[in-house]
Amino acid sequence: MEEAWSTLSVAGIPLGPPLVALFDALGLFRVFTTPGFILLLSVLVVAIICCTIDRTPRLWHSLHHVVVEQPAGFFDPVLPERSRLAAGPLDPDAIAAAFRARRFSVRRATSPDGSVAWVYGDRYQYLKLATLLTHLGLIAFLGAGAVSAAAGFETVVFVGVGQSAPVRPVGTPGNLLVKVLDFQAPRRADGTFADFRTDLAVYRDGERIARRTIRVNEPLELEGYRFHQNTFGPAADLTIRDAAGALLWTGPVILAGEIAGRPQGFLTIPGTATGLLIVIDRAAEGGSRLVVQGVVDDPATGGTRTLFQGALAPGEEARPEQTGGVAIRFEGTSAWTGMVIRNDPGQPIVWAAFGFLIVGLVLTFYFPRRRVWARVEDGTIALALLGDRHVDLGREHRAVSELLLARGALPAAEPLPAAAGVAGAAPGNGSGTSRSRY
């Protein structure tokens, strides 16, 4: 992020560096790990929990306590989504059957004198509780983040071809060891990388327990760990011997750094105090060459002192008298691969959280509760509908009315609800009914 901002300029004026300095001073580049941000996230979790706890009893009450026997005023045609039909041959049994055909759960009641009958239909009655699932998902997601941060393990390893590296610190019981058997990064004709893949083996106690070629989108999963292909770069294959010919080092030296746009790495020669600063450069005649500088600590200055400096072509060897008493042979170039190795106990929680979240959202928005009352009195059916905000209640009203008409009811004086949707639902389509006390 800092790099992106640092190059910003307006009308030739470089604004990037001072902005980077300002943002850095404000901690914006690390904002998501700052105590203030963590505190805000914690406040968010507490707020969601408190709101959910506060809302749940009222939510349950509105779902569970249903008044079937509504007074005549409840069916007043001036209210939204109210209409009347002449019952015709339809009795309460037939109305109940019609409601069931619209997938309503039906409850019924009759006045003590038998003059009034109520038929009540409720669809997706308890799915309104899905909103709790959504909020649980949010809390679980943030909780998963906390678990990942507190108990998760992550390491990034850069390993040359043929080399190995421990996953956990050396000495950890049951530790895993990764070994890069091969690495390939084929290029396309335009020079871009078509793929990069590592032939990876995993060992425990000297025994190979897994082997797989990993790619960016194909990690290796093993015993709770995931091994992700992450990055790669060039390496210089060196063979180093002391003056007596004893082998000190053979293998790739990882060039993960960069100097003047060229790959650079550093190796402390085992068993010596000499360090090698290594850069792969392009040779004048084509191909690559190794520029190597030998350095040792200089107690007098507190820095380092250059012992020798030179360049080697592939296959070329520097004699010990040229390079501080060691023979350095540049075998050629190879590659290193960078892997992210993770063990994240928060991951199962986050998938569960996502499941809760999406199921809750889908149920809330696509299966909203809707209710219909029919009051049958003196050969008239008075209809009233209520629904959540997500319900196109005008459409539901029309469908119910048309079903009753199809089953024998007769139109009353009032017109049927207009076409579905807001377009024609003049008397209202449920606005303000979601918090009904009924």
Binding site: M1, A4, T192, H228, N230, I358, F365, H390, A423, N429
Partner: protein
């Protein structure tokens, strides 16, 4: 003709149709806004005010037809390109800009079937036209994907979800702008009533919000596969989450006294601003979503 040129031709036709539809929609809304009641003076007596026929009706009918042409040709162009590349055709900014425009047009056509919101058509169509215009400035060449994107099923579904959600949110934006102009007192007869605009915007968000959530979840899943973590506060991830939260605030606020009406409409305008920021953000910020092809 190969699928590549076919896709390009179809997209070009779609862009032209979209431009025509947009201009006609603007013309129609302008005519509606400028309409004055016709005054008829009869020989026998006083002036009589009579309602005129809805002005620009023909213009709108043509605009609507061109909108359909745009949706069909842009969609067909995407299908052709998708068949050619063997994945969802949204692997760079050119492809996704066209897909985003298609999503807007399709979302608009879907919602206008249920809500009489034609006078605000120029708003979502204008955004879609801007996007195809922007796409026209980008290289349309078909190139291979970087290895990190080389997951055709997840790329197709994850970005398709973004296309649907972004597209439908454009209509909620248009309805919200209409609401802010109209006001709860229904100031202008040429605009849909505030209630219609409010309902259309709400419906759009109700459709888009779970889809947007699914997009984020699928992205998180993909990130856990490709990058080793399900969440990394990458600029695009963060921006998408903020956008989602803005729409979540809207869903909660709209039913709260004091927040219904103008404040909710304003949240939707801010929300769509966040959508555009999420969309274009990778041009300005580095991060793991820097696959624009620019």
């Amino acid at each position: 003709m190969g699928l590549g040129p076919l896709s390009l031709y179809l997209t070009t036709i779609g862009a032209i149709a979209l431009a025509v539809a947009f201009l006609l929609a603007v013309a129609r809304t302008t005519l509606l806004a400028l309409e004055r009641p016709a005054v008829l003076v009869s020989a026998a007596g006083p002036a009589v005010t009579a309602p005129s026929a809805a002005p620009g009706r023909t213009a709108w009918a043509i605009a609507h037809a061109f909108t359909w042409v745009a949706a069909i040709t842009l969609g067909a162009g995407l299908v052709a390109r998708g068949v050619l590349v063997g994945r969802g055709p949204w692997g760079n900014m050119y492809e996704f800009s066209v897909a985003f425009a298609f999503g807007i047009v399709a979302g608009w056509l879907f919602l206008r079937r249920r809500y009489p919101i034609d006078p605000i058509a120029f708003l979502p169509l204008g955004v879609a036209l801007f996007l195809v215009g922007y796409a026209a400035t980008l290289p349309a060449t078909i190139g291979p994907l970087v290895p990190a994107l080389d997951n055709a099923p997840l790329l197709t579904i994850h970005v398709a979800m973004a296309m649907i959600a972004y597209g439908i949110f454009a209509t909620s934006f248009g309805a919200a702008v209409g609401y802010l102009i109209q006001g709860p007192e229904d100031r202008f007869s040429w605009l849909p009533s505030h209630r219609v605009l409010d309902e259309a915007a709400w419906r759009a968000v109700v459709i888009g919000f779970p889809v947007f959530a699914t997009m984020i979840i699928l992205g998180s899943w993909w990130a856990s596969i490709a990058w080793g973590r399900y969440w990394g506060w990458d600029p695009k991830e963060t921006s998408a989450l903020v956008t989602w939260l803005i729409y979540a605030v809207y869903l909660h606020a709209r039913n709260q006294r004091g927040w219904a009406g103008r404040p909710s409409a304003l949240i939707l305008v801010i929300g769509f601003g966040a959508v555009l920021f999420t969309y274009f953000g990778n041009l300005f910020f580095s991060g793991l979503h820097s696959y624009s092809g620019l």
